[in-house]
């Protein structure tokens, strides 16, 4: 054995020995670990209430990082159950995982603390003798808060370089027993990490609650109104006809990640649609399959609504509204007598993972209309779902592009149920192959299928339209004149993304036009079929297949442009010899012989097409984007007040800045315009759109950057769930701010502006500002709003510890 190995083993033995020694000491001092029932029916006088006093603090100060899948150490503080579960060193997002992990979804994959302990979670609340000293000494939460109190965030302008705030920061998931080591190593790393600490009052409240044993009362029962509404919906979903069962299955597979809001219930009440072993009227026993189309494993199951008990965080808050109109729509789309369902599809993976097979009996047009009616929600699912985390997952799309849809009534492919069923083999998705590592073979297989599908589609269309007249503007869905889901804009913010209604921002590089088969496949690839606990092969396949789907959407878009411009336009989207070669090999531009029914009058057909879409959509296109597309100078929305107009006029100049000079600007910055009257304060988001020569490759993104084409978009309100920066500016100084912003050209000039206007991680008013944005978001969008994530909040600058010497 080599000497290094011997040392390594010795070190391991010593470390393990130390840890065991400390655990033994804790046992001697505080007794053995055991299950603790902290539930009390009601609080006695002087006892701290979790729901009334503790949870609001956790929500505003802890959940901004400890929420969702990427909560550090999987410690979810968004609800009591998360606290009780504790933390683990296992990562949810692990791009190097060779075998799929067992899912660890709170409320789903374990039902008791003991089960979580068996799954490797360690406690952060005291599970030894329940005495006040033990309650504190054995609580990682208390120890972390105490550490911060003892070593507050340095009162420096810049957060010290020793704080790692990168997305892939190494996790340090300490236990109470090992906390002394953690404290020694990272004295500044108390919680909240790399942010200002709690106020004394907040600190005392939580510590006292912990000291008292972390007592919890039962949640208030569901309101009568909620029960009534849910009963109606559960009755609908659990109808027994084959048709109803198939429809319910279809809807469930599309809404399983939704935060369902019933319009007749309070704004902040949300539910999940789940499969339960128990029928309506009984407590929900959720069936915990990894994916919604996995075999439920029981003969009979029920669709049930389960309240969301956690803090609502914006990053996974995908709201789907249910109301009377929705029920009517479902009935109109799916429960008419114009088709029959004679047999239910099986749950074998081959069928279940392919919606064109599983739901072949449902009319394609109905399925498509179901998707279109809430298109933003479904697209949001692509980008707020678990798939969407990190740079590589997201560099499959451009930073800014517009999305329109084929009209379900006019598009032959989208409403031809028989054709889609006939090509369903070609529409297989790689997610049907369970966690394999032979990516190359799978890749070739799916590439081949995709090509066959496109060929079949081409032949089919040629038969129906031998003159090849092609699409005109009426082939674009106009939202039926009112539905604002008709036009969407997608922003990618490096390692996260957003979708908003309408065409927002200046003319983007690319656009997609989506038809039903494309829409459905993206959902099954990225949402229904994506297993966040899957292995590296699964993750790569998903990413690779998405390339095809993106190109399909882009090619649909190109088919509306003049024949002689399509190749040129696409070449502009895929610059670079390797990209050209790859795209030609994988997806040569088809249908070049097809005409377009749109008459173009300028040399910029792309821009003209977008303009025609907006005109065609009419009211569904939404308000004019004064901030980003103001052909005449100084145009403002006259429907707004003078304060807003002043801020608009000043801030719209920001979009004039582009190219290399905005490299230092953050991807997502929230601006708080202080008007002097708190109720009138304004919020804007500045988004940086980074251009790539092409999206053909997963890696080497930096080499494909074309910084000269980078742009900024400014939006009123909030876009993005992970702000990288807060700006606070008085309305009286807004012009001065914009002027200095326009002078930014490098890191230092950015720093000079930021130190004057930005809220820093070390700003004493950091939390005050974070709270303001959250409250403003809630005020503007009472249902759709969620808590912003601060995990990607950047420094205004990071200084090396090295000093310049000569």
């Amino acid at each position: 054995m080599k000497r290094a190995s011997v040392y390594f083993i010795l070190t391991l033995i010593i470390v393990a020995g130390c840890s065991a020694y400390r655990t033994a000491q804790f046992k001697r001092r505080y007794g053995p670990v055991r299950t603790v029932d902290r539930t009390v029916s009601s609080h006695k006088s002087g006892e701290i209430s979790f729901y009334d006093e503790v949870q609001p603090i956790l929500e505003r100060r802890c959940d901004v990082c400890h929420g969702c899948y990427d909560a550090p150490c999987q410690l979810k503080l968004t609800c009591y159950e998360g606290l009780e579960r504790g933390g683990t060193t296992k990562l949810v997002y692990d791009s190097a995982r060779l075998r799929p992990d067992k899912p660890t979804r709170l409320f789903v994959d374990a039902n008791s603390v003991e089960e979580w302990r068996q799954m490797g979670f360690h406690p952060v609340l005291n599970e030894r003798d329940q005495t006040p000293p033990a309650n504190l000494e054995n609580s990682v939460v208390n120890l972390m808060l105490q550490l911060k109190k003892e070593n507050p965030l340095p009162e420096t302008e810049l957060l010290p370089a020793s704080f790692d705030i990168s997305l892939d920061k190494k996790q340090n998931c300490t236990t109470a027993e090992d906390f002394s080591e953690y404290k020694k190593k990272y004295p500044l790393w108390g919680m909240p990490y790399a942010l200002p600490g709690l106020t004394d009052k907040e600190h005392k409240t939580i510590v006292e609650w912990l000291r008292q044993g972390g007592l919890i009362t039962p949640r208030p029962p569901m309101s009568a109104n909620a029960k009534k509404i849910i009963n109606q919906w559960e009755e609908f979903f659990n109808g027994t006809s084959l048709k109803q069962q198939l429809v319910s299955r279809y809807i469930y597979e599309h809404l399983f990640i939704a935060h369902i809001h019933f319009d007749d219930l309070p704004d902040r009440e949300f539910y999940r649609l789940v499969r339960s072993k128990t029928p309506p009227g009984e407590p929900v026993v959720e069936i915990n399959t990894a994916r919604p189309y996995d075999d439920p494993g029981v003969e009979k199951f029920y669709y049930r609504f389960r309240p969301i008990e956690t803090t609502i965080v914006a990053k996974n808050h995908t709201v789907y509204r249910m109301n009377r109109q929705k029920m009517e729509l479902y009935r109109e789309l799916f429960l008419q007598d114009d088709y029959e369902v004679n047999k239910l599809p099986s749950y074998d993976l081959k069928t279940a993972s392919n919606p064109f097979k599983a739901f072949a009996d449902l009319p394609a047009i109905s399925r498509y209309k179901f998707l279109l009616d809430d298109a933003q929600f479904f697209v949001m699912g692509f980008i707020k779902g678990p798939v969407c985390r990190g740079q590589i997952a997201l560099n499959v799309i451009n930073d800014h592009f517009f999305v329109a849809f084929f009209d379900p009534e006019k598009d032959i492919i989208s409403n031809d149920t028989a054709f889609l069923a006939s090509v369903s083999d070609y529409l297989d998705l790689p997610t049907s192959g369970e966690n394999k590592l032979n990516i190359t073979i799978l890749w070739t297989d799916y590439q081949d299928k995709q090509k066959k599908y496109l060929a079949a589609k081409g032949e089919y269309l040629a038969k129906l339209d031998p003159a090849k007249t092609g699409n005109d503007i009426t082939h674009i869905w106009n939202g039926d004149g009112h539905n604002r889901n008709a036009l969407l804009t997608i922003f990618r913010h490096f390692d996260s993304a957003s979708v908003v209604k309408g065409f927002v921002g200046d003319t983007p590089k690319t656009g997609w036009v989506i038809d039903y088969p494309l829409f459905e496949r993206i959902h099954y690839l990225l949402v229904a079929g994506f297993n966040v606990f899957g292995n590296v092969g699964h993750q790569l396949e998903t990413r690779l297949y998405m390339d095809f789907l993106r190109m399909e959407g882009e090619n649909n878009f190109l088919s509306f442009l003049p024949k002689d411009k399509r190749v040129e336009e696409r070449a502009d989207w895929y610059k670079g010899a390797r990209a050209e070669h790859k795209i030609h090999l994988e997806d040569p531009l088809r249908g070049l012989q097809w005409d377009t029914g749109i008459v173009y009058t300028t040399n910029d057909p792309k821009k003209e097409f977008f303009e025609q879409i907006i005109e065609h959509a009419g009211p569904a296109a939404g308000p004019k984007d004064y901030l980003n597309r103001c052909p005449e100078k100084n145009c403002v929305d006259k429907n707004t007040g003078p304060l807003e107009q002043r801020a608009d006029l000043a801030l719209q100049k920001v979009t004039g800045k582009r190219g290399p000079e905005i490299q230092v600007v953050q991807d997502v910055a929230f601006i708080h315009v202080v008007t002097g009257n708190k109720d009138n304060d304004l919020a804007y988001t500045v988004i940086r759109n980074k251009a790539l020569s092409n999206n053909s490759f997963m890696f080497g993104e930096e080499r494909r950057r074309i910084v000269e084409d980078d742009t900024l978009t400014i939006v009123k309100g909030y876009v993005g769930n992970y702000p990288n920066s807060f700006v606070r500016v008085n309305l009286d100084e807004i012009e001065e701010f914009v002027e200095s912003f326009l002078k930014i050209r490098d890191q230092l000039s950015y720093y000079n502006v930021a130190r004057k206007y930005a809220i820093r991680r070390t700003s004493p008013n950091f939390w005050e500002e974070a709270d303001w944005h959250y409250q403003k978001y809630l005020k503007d969008e009472p249902v759709e709003a969620g808590l912003f994530d601060m995990y990607r909040f950047n420094r205004i600058a990071e200084k090396s510890d090295a000093e310049f010497t000569w």
Binding site: D746, A797, K799, A802, W806
Partner: protein, 571 residues
């Protein structure tokens, strides 16, 4: 016997000329005094040995023919000189011989010590040389014989030369001849020098640094500061050495009562001392201020008080602050570093109140403002300005010295920063609006290191294609103080001319150049009332082997006014 006397006399030339341990003007000993023909060199050594062993006579190599009955030169040699001198009148100029020092037209201060006259003779037949100094007056010439390519006149001869070259230049002619055929002159060339009636009347304070430049305590200890007197035949005394820290730029108040210097006291790179001039200066904490006390955004590197300048009255200091600098060590020996600030503003410091203030007008963060200079009445500040060049740094948050395997020219092409000179009122600290200085701005060149003449009429500045210091192509230009047409100064040498300083009386200006050697030397030029300068005089006694003599400053003090500067042991 005559032959023996002659040989002996020649041998005495060999041993006397030049003085041991003294660097000849205008070049390194190796370059200027190499015996080109090894065979003739061996012969001379042989002859000298014979002469020394057998003749036992001594002799003098120069002869002032004005002085009757002079014993400066043995008769035999004098006869040879006379013979040659007679012949020389008929001799046309021969090519191949060039007098490399003094420079033709050079003007010497009246109190300066004698230089070494140096020439290069490419003629293989030349193995001995006759030097003739002639005057425009009726005064008789001075003669000398040399068997190497240099002649150091002794003090009396030199005083005679100076005294007789005030009204009109003296002509120095060097003739090359072959000793074996002493009637044949094979090479000849002449220059003219003159002596000004304007005295310098000031000392010169300068630093010596070993090349190549290196940082570190070991190297800081080798730094030396000397206080030089141009009239002395001795090397200037060292007044400061063996420092544990780095120290560099220094300046004195106009009256010479205060000295200021950048010195990294207690490891503080922004520390400067300001103290009264006295024979023994012992520096303590009270003598220091630090530019690092100027409030600084955290992202910026520590301020070092770059190009800080004490005002002529000693009441203020002005410096670059908030600076970010690009610094690289090159692979070149003579131009071993590239350094310039890419960002920075000017701030001033009140010496009495110990307070700092930004200097309005030179506080625009879109520019780098640096290298300030005071007008002698303190009404104006002239400074160098460029748009910021922070894109030259790979990472602005991690500024460090680069080690580049490239020479200065390659680096200049990579980082072509250019500065313009701006002038603005100081207005007792209130500042004003900076205006580009005509003739020293926006001319496609880099303009920097401005210095006012004491009468306030002129500004002399350095100009090169790029950069702000240590540039091979840097040259000195003069403009009217309010701006105007720039005139290239005559004193410029072929390589690197910079770091100039006016004498307190404004009649002389010294500067540094690497024209003769990679080890920077100090030169002196006369400036007349019209700002016209002369070909310079090299202060060769101010140089040491392996040391560059840099940052020279005229000081309005006598030669012995400072004897020692040291850091107090009580730190």
């Amino acid at each position: 016997m005559a032959q023996c006397e002659l040989l002996h006399s020649i041998s005495s030339i060999v041993v006397k000329n030049p003085k041991p341990g003294t660097r000849p003007e205008g070049g390194s000993p190796k370059d200027k005094f190499a015996i080109r023909n090894p065979k003739s060199g061996l012969l001379i050594i042989l002859l000298v040995s014979i002469a020394l062993n057998h003749c036992g006579l001594s002799g003098i190599n120069s002869w002032d023919s004005q002085v009757r009955g002079s014993d400066q030169m043995p008769d035999s040699i004098r006869h040879l000189v006379q013979k040659l001198a007679t012949k020389s009148k008929k001799v046309e100029n021969h090519t191949g011989l060039a007098i490399t020092y003094p420079y033709d037209g050079a003007v010497f201060p009246p109190e300066i010590a004698a230089p070494v006259i140096v020439w290069e003779d490419a003629n293989a037949a030349s193995n001995h040389w006759l030097i003739v100094v002639e005057f425009s007056s009726q005064r008789s010439p001075i003669y000398a014989i040399a068997d190497e390519q240099g002649w150091a006149p002794d003090q009396s001869i030199w005083e005679a030369v100076k005294a007789n070259s005030v009204r009109a230049p003296a002509k120095i002619t060097v003739y090359g001849f072959d000793l074996q055929h002493s009637d044949t002159i094979v090479a000849k060339n002449s220059i003219r020098i003159s002596t000004s009636k304007d005295r310098v009347d000031a000392s010169i304070f300068y630093r010596q640094v070993q090349l190549p430049f290196k940082v570190g305590k070991k190297n800081f200890k080798k730094l030396k500061w000397r206080l030089g007197d141009i009239s002395s035949y001795e090397k200037p005394p060292v007044v400061m050495e063996n420092l544990p820290v780095c120290a560099s730029c220094h300046l004195f108040s106009k009256d010479g009562t205060l000295i200021s210097m950048e010195m990294n006291y207690k490891e503080d790179s922004g520390a400067h001392f300001i103290t009264s001039v006295r024979e023994n200066i012992e520096l303590s904490a009270e003598d220091f201020m630090s530019w690092n006390d100027f409030p600084r955004p955290e992202l910026l590197p520590k301020t070092r008080g770059l190009f800080a300048k004490i005002s002529p009255s000693g009441k203020y200091m002005v410096s670059t602050v908030h600076e970010i600098s690009y610094a690289a060590l090159t692979n070149n020996f003579a131009f071993c570093q590239l350094f310039f600030p890419t960002y920075g503003v000017l701030a001033w410091y009140s010496v009495d109140n110990r307070e700092f203030h930004l200097l309005a007008g030179a506080d625009d963060y879109d520019f780098v403002q640096t290298d300030p200079s005071w007008s002698w009445d303190e009404k104006y500040i002239v400074f160098a300005r460029s748009t910021t060049k922070n894109d030259y740094h790979e990472d602005i948050t991690n500024i460090h010295t680069h080690i580049e395997d490239a020479d200065i020219q390659e680096l200049n092409e990579k980082f072509p920063i250019q500065f313009n000179l701006y002038r603005m009122p100081f207005n007792q600290g209130k500042g004003g609006i900076p205006e580009p200085l005509k003739g020293a701005s926006h001319n496609g060149m880099s303009n920097y290191f401005p210095r006012y003449s004491p009468d306030g009429k002129w500004i002399v500045f350095t100009r090169s294609r790029t950069g702000i210091m240590l540039q091979p192509d840097s040259e000195l230009f003069i403009i009217p103080a309010a701006g105007g047409e720039a005139r290239r100064m005559r004193c410029n040498r072929e390589l690197f001319n910079s770091w100039h300083s006016f004498s307190p009386n404004g009649k002389w200006m010294l500067f540094s150049s690497k024209a003769n050697t990679p080890f920077t030397e100090i030169f002196l030029t006369h400036i007349d009332a019209n700002g016209v300068d002369s070909p310079p005089v090299c202060l060769s006694r101010f140089s040491d082997d392996h040391y560059a003599a840099n940052v020279p400053e005229f000081v309005n003090i006598g030669p012995g006014a400072i004897k020692k500067i040291k850091i107090s042991a009580q730190r």
